[in-house]
């Protein structure tokens, strides 16, 4: 068996792993990231879905905008098909099926493999946690103030900026104003109010003003920053022809991986699925010593030994790897999963109503950023504009409901005109109204509960061992919060003049996942496992709760930066110039 050594072995180059690796690299620590999926936009892998390609990459010169343009076509079937898409949870080899999970209930899980992880198709919404979710809910062992310096660093480097107003955003803002909400202008949210999203998307060129467009091709180098093409879900590769690291949507592969490579101390090995955390059992304590992994092309097993191991495989695979490695379970491993208990409310507008608000007859959901405006409701959650291409719209808004079909439901007395899954003529009529549609997502402040969990399904194995089993059910209190958000969303749409409002009553959609290896439960306040030395967790599973329903990646990455400093402080001789308070 091939064996190698490094200072820190990180499992997973998703949303958060690269943030930690970048900070450790800056501190002079050598890091190897093992990533289960492919590396898109990298010259070491010119045909990442067809051939094994190179072994590892750590040189910024390997990153290729040209390959990224070829691989990310912006078509939703190509990119987002959960079975065959370029962006899916599965091996790089696209002749093979996706990787399996046991989900014994109605639910949809959206996680991606590959460098960038699930941020490859995220909308780059980067709000901070709600202050009260960290300081007043009981789970966090650290304070909101401890996170702020790391938030600030990310806001500067990604950068995170107010999303531009576009026609669909203005429809939302006007609905919010008429419903009586004030504008929230602060980064630290404690009161209900509406605002543009703080987004990790570089702001667009001023020439993209409406009516200003000169019919150009909106491509680099003529155009830098966002081009308002709304292809975040398809990988967000705009502006076309730009260097890899200058794409506007700042997923971790585009924003943080190049910075990590710049340090000269970080390399990523894609197509490497970690299957075992190696340990030494000392007297009274267990200590992590490395990781065993499987090359997904060659099917060979290798070992990477390290002084510290960091798990950043996401909320489902981190607990699976932990449990399959036989590490100690204090009763909270994989438990306490939060998901923001999503729902959608959608408004369809008559041309006259939209014209009077924004001077054009249609909402045009496919133009502008996918999610650029939101309503914060601390203690309850948030309601945000979420717009998709048609296939994803049909799938999420009209097909992902639970319970009875819409044709078997009565909505008399409700603020929505229809509710539930659509099919048949009704579906086709709604989809024919696509360009007059504004969809809002409800992000519920659901609370961690022990029964909502990731365990392993011992009866189902794939080549990486027993597969994860995921179960999530809402508590009645979470249902009540979600209902409140759906009502507020419907009210806002009605105030804006929607002719028809539809509520999805979604089944569990697991796409924001947090807190399945929570700090304060499984981890100490530095992100290190309470029961295993030299083993840290730095992905969203480390979050102590659902951060109030704010999109989680800003907090996940902030915490990962903080954990990097704790790793260096505890095992690599300290941090000279810490970003935050060296606790």
């Amino acid at each position: 068996m091939r064996e190698r050594e490094t200072d820190v072995a990180v499992v997973g180059a998703g949303g958060d792993g690269p943030a930690l690796a970048w900070r450790l690299g800056q501190l002079g620590v050598d890091v190897t990231i093992l990533e289960a999926g492919p590396f898109y936009g990298n010259e070491e892998w010119p045909a990442p879905n067809d051939a094994p390609g190179g072994e590892a990459s750590g040189d910024p010169a390997d990153l290729s905008g040209t390959l990224y343009d070829e691989q990310f076509t912006s078509r939703e079937g190509d990119m987002n098909d959960p079975v065959t898409g370029t962006l899916r949870w599965g091996p790089a080899d696209d002749d093979r099926p996706p990787w399996q999970r046991t989900v014994p209930q109605q639910a949809l899980i959206a996680q991606l493999s590959g460098v960038g992880g699930t941020t490859q198709h995220y909308y780059a919404n980067h709000p901070r946690a709600f202050v009260t979710a960290v300081d007043d809910q009981p789970q966090w062992p650290i304070d909101y103030a401890d996170l702020v310096p790391y938030y600030q660093l990310l806001e500067e480097v990604h950068p995170v900026e107010p999303a531009p107003t576009t026609p669909k955003a203005e429809v939302f803002f006007e609905g919010a104003r008429r419903a009586g909400y004030d504008l929230n202008e602060g980064l630290n949210v404690t009161e209900a109010g509406y605002r543009p999203f703080p987004n990790a998307i570089s702001q667009p060129d001023e020439r993209l003003r409406r009516d200003g467009g000169d019919g150009d091709e909106y491509r680099y180098p003529d155009y830098e920053g966002d081009t308002l093409a709304m292809h975040e879900h398809q990988g967000g590769p705009h502006p076309r022809e730009a260097p890899f690291r200058e794409r506007a949507r700042r997923s971790s592969n585009v924003s943080l991986v190049p910075r990590a490579f710049d340090t000269g101390n970080v390399e990523i090995r894609p197509n490497a699925f970690a299957t075992d955390v190696l340990t030494d059992d000392g007297p009274g304590s267990v200590e992590a010593t490395g990781v065993e992994f499987r090359d997904t092309w060659a099917a060979t097993t290798e070992r990477l030994y390290a002084d510290v191991v960091v798990l950043a495989a996401g909320c489902v695979e981190t607990p699976r790897l932990w449990l399959n490695s036989g590490l100690p379970d204090d009763g909270w491993v994989g438990r306490g999963l939060t998901t923001h208990w999503f729902d959608f409310v959608t408004g369809i507008f008559e041309p006259g109503a939209v014209e009077s608000l924004v001077g054009q007859p249609a909402v045009e959901p496919h133009q502008g950023q996918a999610a650029g405006s939101r309503l914060d409701v601390p203690g309850v959650g948030a309601v945000a504009v979420n717009t998709f291409a048609p296939g994803v719209t049909a799938m999420a808004v009209y097909a992902a409901g639970r319970g009875e079909w819409a044709f078997d439901r009565d909505t008399a007395g409700e603020p929505w005109d229809s509710c539930g899954r659509l099919a048949g003529r009704e579906l086709k009529e709604r989809m024919a109204d696509y360009r007059r549609t504004l969809t809002l997502i409800c992000h519920t402040d659901d609370r961690p509960r022990r029964d909502n969990r990731v365990v392993v399904d011992e009866s189902t194995e794939d080549e990486h061992g027993p597969v994860p089993l995921v179960e999530w059910e809402p508590h009645p209190d979470d249902d009540a919060r979600r209902d409140e958000l759906a009502r507020r969303g419907a009210e806002l749409l009605n105030e804006a003049g929607a002719a028809h409002v539809h509520r999805t009553d979604a089944a569990p959609i697991l796409l924001h996942m947090q807190s399945s290896m929570a700090m304060g439960k499984v981890l100490d306040a530095g992100g290190e496992a309470k029961n295993v030395d030299r083993l840290f967790v730095a992905d969203h599973s480390a979050l102590a709760n659902g951060v109030g329903g704010a999109n989680p990646t800003h907090t996940g990455q902030a915490l990962a930066l903080r954990t990097a400093e704790r790793v260096a402080a505890r095992y690599f001789g300290g941090v000279d110039d810490p970003v935050g308070d060296p606790g």
């Binding site: 014994p104 107003t165 980064l187 993209l208 467009g213 296939g391 097909a399 099919a423 048949g424 003529r425």
Partner: protein, 196 residues
């Protein structure tokens, strides 16, 4: 037409049917999933959900799950009928359909049958009683079907040229773009580091 394909045709037809009643919105709104060969695309995907392991992998990369799903749809249709939950009577199946009970139900009853697999039907009741992950997986699979069908239909997947699918045309979606001049300004110029 095989049993599997014919049963999936009945599923596709229930979710995205031909709609002559929408002709007033334009002729492009009439055809549905069968016209686009959607059942084929869905069968292909269901047959690549799950990777084979061990000896079975000699026969191919993936478990051919679609015939089993077709049989489940028929079982659910039978349950709907036995429990007198069907609201319309039985009909002779469309030419494109197979001959099982699922294919003989009205469109809405086919969807009610699918619901029995998710919730409330025999399989769902057993999985509650035994807390059995493998039975629960049937619920997961059943609820994935509308999601898969509606996604594939409204994406570009069924288009010959990779763009002008029926779904995209019916949604009047122009397809991928380099960008749009739609900037109206900024509601907030920059966020403040406010007290909390």
């Amino acid at each position: 037409m095989s049993y599997t394909r014919g049963t999936f045709a009945a599923l596709v037809d229930a979710l995205v049917p031909e709609t002559p009643g929408l002709a007033s919105r334009g002729p492009e709104h009439v055809p549905g999933g069968l016209e686009a060969g959607l059942e084929e695309a869905v069968v292909e995907r269901v047959n690549s959900f799950v990777e084979t392991r061990g000896l079975a992998s000699l026969a191919g990369d993936a478990v051919p799950l679609a015939p089993a799903v077709a049989a489940l749809l028929d079982a659910a249709a039978a349950e709907l009928l036995v429990r007198r939950r069907a609201e319309a009577g039985l009909r002779s199946p469309d030419d494109a359909f197979a001959g099982g009970p699922f294919c003989r139900l009205s469109r809405e009853d086919r969807l009610r049958a699918l619901r029995l697999l998710e919730d409330d039907g025999v399989v769902a009741a057993l999985s509650e009683r035994f807390d059995a992950a493998s039975l629960g997986t049937v619920q997961f699979l059943a609820s994935s079907l509308p999601i898969l069908v509606e996604f594939v239909y409204y994406s570009e997947t069924t288009a010959d040229d990779g763009e002008h699918s029926l779904g995209w045309r019916q949604a009047d979606y122009p397809g991928p773009s380099d960008g749009y001049p739609v900037l109206l300004g900024y509601e907030v110029e920059s966020f403040e580091e406010n007290d909390y």
